[in-house]
Symmetry: C2
């Protein structure tokens, strides 16, 4: 292990490929976008893609995995800004509101990708991991918030969260995430979560 350059200067082919895949796959769909367009936007040779990832499927998995990691990071930072579990739950809907308001929002990347897969597929594992993480997070927060039935409340909160993403993908009018936040407050109240 010799000295590695502290500043790599050049962005590696892997990172440029992931960035290009992120833009193109999310915006236009994993089946619609071909390899050629990805390497063109990344400014990378085709051989590099196959050296690094081995196949398009693996590139898709890496793209979704990177999105999952990025969301975990972003959510963790946002949750750290709040103290009570109740506020943290609402913060998740605030995050969705900001995300869905951005230009180019097209809904949940995992739902979109899953819609394009035929039959069983290794890409589905990444989707399941992401969904499990989200549901677990809601369940954990619901329990800490003192909900009578944390699993049941979490399931309902996930419904609202997914619904807000779908509306952001399909409907021209915004505001779905805000409506979801309001509904989440009511459901928490009915579930016995105390109001500070």
């Amino acid at each position: 292990m010799s000295t590695k350059p502290a500043v790599p200067e050049k962005i590696s082919a892997r990172e440029r490929l992931l960035a290009a895949a992120e833009e193109l796959f999310y915006e236009e769909g994993i089946n619609t976008v071909g390899i050629d367009r990805v390497i063109e936007r990344a400014g990378v040779a085709k051989a590099s893609l196959y050296n690094v990832f081995g196949s398009k499927d693996e590139l898709i998995r890496a793209y979704l995995g990177a999105r999952h990691e990025a969301r975990k990071e972003r959510v963790a930072q946002r949750l750290a800004r709040h103290d009570t579990p109740r506020e943290k739950i609402l913060a998740l809907f605030d995050d969705m509101r900001e995300t869905a308001a951005k230009a180019g929002f097209r809904g949940c990347a995992f739902v979109r990708a899953s819609a394009e897969l035929r039959g069983e597929h290794s890409v589905r594992d990444v989707c399941n991991e992401s969904r499990g993480w989200l549901r677990g997070l809601f369940t954990d927060l619901a329990r800490k918030a003192g909900a009578r039935d944390p699993e049941a409340l979490a399931r309902q909160l996930v419904l609202l969260y997914d619904g807000a993403a779908v509306s952001g993908q399909m409907d021209a009018a915004g505001g779905a995430a805000l409506a979801a936040r309001d509904a989440a407050m009511l459901l928490m109240k009915s579930s016995g979560v105390s109001f500070s």
Copy 2:
């Protein structure tokens, strides 16, 4: 206008194509499935497809339009079984529960199709019509049920409805529509809908 045969005996190429498109497009995606597989399953010549529909895009529009009409019909029949607006709203979630429980359920066909389109596309119009109809139906029922803010309640109910469809598409565990129904009851209660 001469006498038309009362019993056509043979199913027209159009109907067989729509039936094949329904199965294949919904199950595997509109981009993934090629024309050749559709005409093979329909047992129809390629020229017939292009004589009747003119293009694959038009076939997709017809497929989604037929789904929209079928859902309107199915929902109308179910709503007719109930008297109060409150029960009719809950019946919509019962319908979703039954639909999502069927083998081969893959989520909302319009959301799935929309996820595969790149940029603006005439297929999106059919999706928007379907979503407008659903939201209008919820709004109408919410108003008749005496909700304080029918538009707001309808928006929340649509969130739950979409969320249930997403969960049915993505998650192995069922029961999402039932959770959505429970949440819908709570939201109605909070919105001032009287309990019979």
